[in-house]
């Protein structure tokens, strides 16, 4: 059976520098997959390859079995892959509502509206006319997630969901994930906090220096094995 989204023998480059080597990862419909690994391992690069931000060969990224590698980001989001980028990257001069509305530029029909995003993140209710740059880090992350949802995606890619945020705020934000899965959205999660990543995901891949060196069902992965994988020992 074909996976919802998968990479096959994916290589990615920044100029002459190779950041990913023959990466094979799979996301099944309804799943949440975590990507973990130390700084500079290539997690962000893998997400960028999926959305067309880094040029890759056409047949190395497949959506429902169809090759989409290297298509433009504007095309790929219209096929249903949305991102919550590293550093959140809201549009600083747009209001919260305007940032959220940018999600609709994907041109995809679906259930998500401004009101529905406000139901998921009530903290944004009285911030709707504020600029993105006036928000707290947690609120910015909520807007970044809401913006991705507004594109009515099949898959959302999260890069560093919890980076720089207080744990209680991360919990508020993480509430959105089960809700997204109830709405039929599959998730790829890059996360620094390994325990949290394993708790939130069904399956996990560990990346080191551009290669997958450990993978497995999240609940079965031993923390010691992951520690070893982080430092390059064969697990």
């Amino acid at each position: 059976m074909t996976a919802l989204l998968e990479t096959r023998n994916l290589d990615a480059f920044y100029g002459d520098f190779q950041a990913l080597y023959g990466v094979d990862v799979k996301l099944e419909e309804g799943q949440c997959v975590a990507l973990i690994g130390p700084n500079g391992a290539g997690k962000t690069t893998l997400l960028r390859s999926l959305v067309g931000w880094v040029p890759v060969a056409r047949e190395t990224v497949l959506l429902n079995g169809q090759p989409i590698g290297g298509m433009g980001p504007d095309k790929i989001v219209s096929l249903g892959i949305a991102s919550v980028p590293e550093g959140r990257r809201l549009f600083p001069s747009l209001t919260v509502d305007e940032n959220l509305l940018m999600g609709t530029e994907s041109g995809r029909a679906g259930p998500w509206t401004l009101d529905k995003v406000m139901e998921v993140f009530p903290a944004l209710r009285d911030r709707r006319r504020h600029r993105g740059s006036d928000l707290s880090g947690g609120q910015q992350q909520m807007v970044a997630i809401g913006r991705a949802l507004m594109s009515n995606p099949k898959v959302v890619l999260f890069d560093e969901l919890s980076l720089g945020l207080a744990p209680t705020i991360v919990n508020d934000i993480a509430r959105a994930l089960p809700l997204m899965r109830d709405n039929g959205i599959s998730i790829v999660l890059v996360e620094q906090d390994v325990r949290r990543a394993l708790a939130m995901s069904d399956y996990a891949y560990c990346i080191l220096e551009g290669r997958i060196n450990l993978q497995g069902v999240s609940a079965d992965l031993a923390f010691e094995d992951i520690e070893k994988a982080f430092f390059g020992a064969e697990a």
């Binding site: 989001v77 991102s83 747009l94 940018m102 530029e105 594109s151």
Partner: protein, 287 residues
């Protein structure tokens, strides 16, 4: 005294026209980070288009407006998609060189077609009628120009902050990379932005064609005005272009009042002073 007030009023009114020169330059710089060195020559091209339709083909002015503005918009879109989009990237030099090249091509092309003669459009009686308010007399044409300028700037403001296209334009200005990940076809948006910029240039071109005479080589001086206005008003500020235009217009009027030879010099001096004291411009940092 009356003479002083008259020239100040004249300075404010021509400031509207200067704002129109600057608005397109500012828009293009904001969104594509390109200083369009052909900006002035594109304005002059618009003036010659108007000259050709009105004076050579003998069409009425309203029809010329309906021909020139869409043609300028189309020219902008095609220029951006066909040429300039291929020059923008991390390096600032290619777009500068290419727009400089376009500037030279336009100047020489216009010289070939229209010769180096001075041209001026004649809009008839409105050019000599004036509004007398006590001792102050303001030309109706200057008032009309200012009104059109304010309306255009207001329209641009409305477009930017009240429409979907405006939201997409501002988002692309903020972060083109993320805009693309949201589904924005930035190549197309750049084309639209240049089209809007050149339609504004077209409006300025038509109005200026009857204000003073022009030749195929008038472009660079228009570019200089536009550039100074953008810096004075504050980069990225729409109303700032109007503030900058009026500041420059008034400075020139004051200089010219003291000594006609100081008119342009006074403008440059004010530009340098503001650049030194408020590098972000009068309305810079605010929107």
């Amino acid at each position: 005294m009356t003479e002083l007030i008259n020239s100040l009023a004249q300075g404010v009114l021509i400031g509207g026209l200067y704002a129109l020169f600057a608005a397109g330059l500012s828009l293009v710089f904001g969104i594509m980070r390109v200083v369009n060195l052909a900006h002035g020559d594109l304005i002059v091209t618009g003036s010659f288009m108007t000259f050709a339709t009105v004076s050579m083909l003998g069409l009425p002015l309203w029809l010329a407006v309906l021909i020139v503005l869409p043609m300028m918009g189309l020219l902008g879109y095609v220029l951006q998609r066909g040429l300039l989009n291929h020059t923008i990237g991390t390096d600032v030099l290619p777009p500068l060189l290419v727009t400089f090249g376009i500037s030279i091509i336009l100047q020489n092309g216009l010289l070939q077609i229209f010769t180096a003669d001075n041209r001026k459009l004649d809009f008839g009686a409105i050019e000599v009628m004036s509004l007398q308010m006590g001792p102050v007399a303001m030309g109706w044409y200057a008032i009309l120009v200012f009104a059109v300028a304010v309306a255009t700037i207001y329209g641009l403001q409305f477009l930017s902050y009240r429409t979907r296209l405006g939201r997409v334009l501002r988002a692309t200005t903020d972060d083109p990379e993320v805009a693309r990940v949201m589904g924005v076809r930035t190549d197309h948006v750049f084309g639209i932005a240049m089209a809007i910029a050149l339609v504004i240039c077209g409006i300025a071109a038509i109005l200026f064609a009857a204000w003073t005479s022009f030749t195929p080589l008038s472009g660079p001086s228009r570019l200089l005005i536009a550039f100074e206005v953008v810096v004075i008003g504050g980069i990225g500020s729409i109303w700032g272009t109007l503030a900058g235009g009026i500041t420059l217009g008034v400075a020139q009027a004051l200089g010219g009042y003291l000594d006609p030879a100081w008119q342009t010099l006074a403008g440059h001096i004010v530009f340098v002073i503001i650049l030194a004291l408020r590098p972000a411009g009068i309305l810079g940092g605010r929107r």
